[in-house]
């Protein structure tokens, strides 16, 4: 569950301001956040993931108040609690598909890379149809395949929250539907909230809640 209370955020030397008086996202929610460019959608995701700190207010992720922790602790919370998916995929170019999936277990000592994790990575790759591309490097993959690798990487740590910043923006309709279906099914099966930022109104029927960020202004 995600809960934001009395949030105020401003970028230094900028007019931009984001205020969220109250926002609750339940574990059964699949929520799409919409709004025009520059309205603060990505800022909201960055606040929810602890990448940005609000000036005021509290953000609870499964009853953990992010505003009470320092940057280093937030890294640990993020890697354990959250699965992040970005518009530009953000894969590590020098690691093959399999290593990209398990990379969270190599970059933070809080996670231990075991055979069980490796097994899970193989299963996730199979689930998204990448089982025959495990040894390929990102440069040899299509856009849709890259995003599926990014999804596997987000899911490998068995996150409690899925936060996605325009995950389908660079994809063709077939890949878009495929990616949304994977995210939706995972969220439903594991009973974890799915938060997706999008510009694309055609995908809104996939969500049980739609939040226009302009509502906060």
């Amino acid at each position: 569950m995600i809960h934001c209370k009395e949030i105020l955020f401003k970028y230094p030397n900028s007019e931009f301001k984001l205020e969220i008086p109250q926002l609750r996202i339940e574990s059964t929610d699949r929520i799409a956040i919409v709004g025009p460019s520059g309205s603060g959608k990505t800022t909201l995701i960055n606040l929810l993931s602890g990448i940005l700190n609000p000036m005021k207010g509290d953000i609870f992720i499964n009853n953990i108040n992010l505003t009470e922790y320092n940057k280093s602790d937030l890294q640990d919370i993020r890697i354990v609690q959250m699965g992040l998916i970005f518009q530009e995929f953000r894969l590590i170019e020098y690691l093959n598909v399999f290593e990209n999936i398990i990379v969270p277990f190599r970059i933070n000592s809080i996670l231990k890379l075991t055979n069980e994790v490796r097994q899970r990575a193989s299963e996730l790759a199979k689930m998204v149809g990448l089982e025959d591309k495990l040894l390929k490097f990102p440069s040899k993959l299509s856009q849709g395949e890259r995003q599926r690798v990014a999804i596997c990487r987000a899911l490998i740590g068995q996150p409690k929250v899925l936060l996605c910043d325009e995950p389908t923006a660079n994809l063709d309709p077939t890949n878009r539907d495929n990616i949304l279906s994977i995210l939706k099914n995972y969220s439903l099966n594991k009973k974890i909230p799915l938060v997706v930022i999008t510009h694309d109104e055609s995908i809104l029927p996939n969500f049980n809640r739609v939040l226009n960020i302009e509502e906060f202004k």
Binding site: S49, I51, K71, S72, Q75, D76, R78, I79, V80, L84, F86, R90, I92, E93, Y94, L95, E99, V103, P104, F105, R106, I107, N108, S109, L113, F137, R153, A154
Partner: protein, 392 residues
């Protein structure tokens, strides 16, 4: 730590082109001064060892360095010869044991050293097979020559003509191999030893041909008086000395006037050595006496000065390269900001990211250093050949 090393290795492997360039740059910067040091130390040792084993050297006036390098390392002689009489004169002083050296001719690329069998004793050269040369037209091969020419005792080698235009001078002489030397790891491995008289045969000062008195074909004898016979060029000249024709070989002129390129003098004692040097220094002569070690020390001092300049240059280049390397690493990290940001976003510890980047740099430096060490060690083995080529 294991994961950081793994990720660093993955990056270096993926960016292999950049990695190899950096490793090469680092290894070259380290190798130039290291290698140069090894090479000059080895060269100095090699040059000095042989020079120290040669107490005194006598040759015509001229370049002292040329005389030493020619006689000790069999470099192509660019010195004047002198008459064999001087060898006998020196022997008659009873101050030193004298070994003549004649080195004008070659068998293919290998110099023929006309000397006496005392040379083998003096240099402590041992025979691997056969015996030393005792007869005109016999020779002993250095270990390398025997191996390279694939020759053994009983085989023959033929001397090469001194030059394309030397039609009237040296004849190619077929020489019988009577012995092969054990490897000595010195320049003696790379030469063909023969008696100095055989060298004179090659130079045309002695030759053998059909006996005019027993020639059956009258057309070969053009004219004859009591003291002189003029024969046709068709008279058979021997190019090989055998037991059958050795008696027909004869010298034209007085052997005391025949050429010698240098002589090694081994004084009977310290006092004799000083007296010998004193005689040459006080009596003006067309010969000079040298202590090879002093000449080589002088040469090494020059080489060391050049080495120091090169090392200084290498240090300056190394300093510049280090700055460039720092710049390359800094630019590389700058270009990887997106990747670093991604790792941070998905939960990487800052310490871990720094560790990965640090290991990448460290591995590159270690591999560069390792390559420099391997190159330097290989110089220890191949450097001696380089030094020999340099001397030659």
């Amino acid at each position: 730590m294991v994961h950081s090393i793994f990720l660093a290795l993955q990056y270096l492997k993926y960016r292999w082109g950049k990695t190899i360039l950096l490793i090469l740059a680092i290894s070259l910067v380290l190798f130039i001064p290291m290698g140069l040091n090894i090479l000059t130390n080895q060269g100095s040792e090699k040059l000095t060892r042989r020079a120290m084993d040669t107490p005194l050297l006598i040759g015509s006036l001229g370049s002292q360095t040329e005389l030493v390098l020619s006689t000790l390392y069999f470099k192509e002689p660019k010195i004047s010869s002198f008459s064999y009489k001087k060898v006998n004169d020196l022997k008659n002083t009873n101050l030193a044991h004298v070994i003549p050296v004649h080195m004008r001719y070659q068998v293919r690329d290998y110099r023929i050293i006309g000397t006496s069998s005392d040379y083998f004793t003096f240099r402590q050269l041992k025979l691997e097979s056969g015996r030393v040369m005792t007869m005109l037209g016999e020779c002993v091969l250095g270990a390398t020559v025997a191996k390279k020419l694939n020759k053994s005792v009983g085989d023959f080698v033929i001397s090469s003509p001194a030059g394309a235009f030397d039609v009237a001078g040296s004849y190619p002489l077929k020489m019988k191999i009577t012995g092969i030397l054990e490897p000595s790891q010195t320049k003696d491995d790379e030469v063909v030893f023969t008696d100095i008289k055989t060298s004179w045969v090659i130079s045309g000062l002695a030759h053998g041909h059909q006996d005019v008195k027993v020639v059956t074909n009258d057309s070969l004898l053009l004219s004859k008086t009591n003291s002189n016979a003029v024969v046709s060029p068709a008279l058979l000249s021997y190019t090989e000395i055998t037991a059958d024709n050795i008696d027909s070989f004869h010298f034209h002129g007085n052997p005391e006037s025949f050429p010698v390129d240098a002589m090694i003098a081994i004084p009977k004692d310290k006092k004799s050595g000083l007296m010998l040097r004193g005689r040459f220094e006080t009596n003006p002569s067309d010969l000079q006496i040298l202590v090879p070690k002093l000449i080589i020390d002088n040469l090494i001092n020059t080489v060391v000065s050049v080495k120091n300049i090169v090392i200084l240059t290498a240090i300056i280049i190394g300093f510049a390269t280090t700055i460039i390397l720092i710049l390359v690493f800094a630019l590389s990290i700058q270009l990887r900001q997106q990747e670093i940001k991604t790792l941070r976003y998905i939960g990487a510890e800052k310490r871990r990211i720094n560790q990965i980047l640090g290991i990448e740099i460290l591995l590159t430096l270690i591999l560069g250093l390792l390559l420099a060490v391997i190159l330097s060690f290989s110089l220890k083995y191949f450097g001696l050949n380089l030094i020999d080529n340099f001397i030659s």
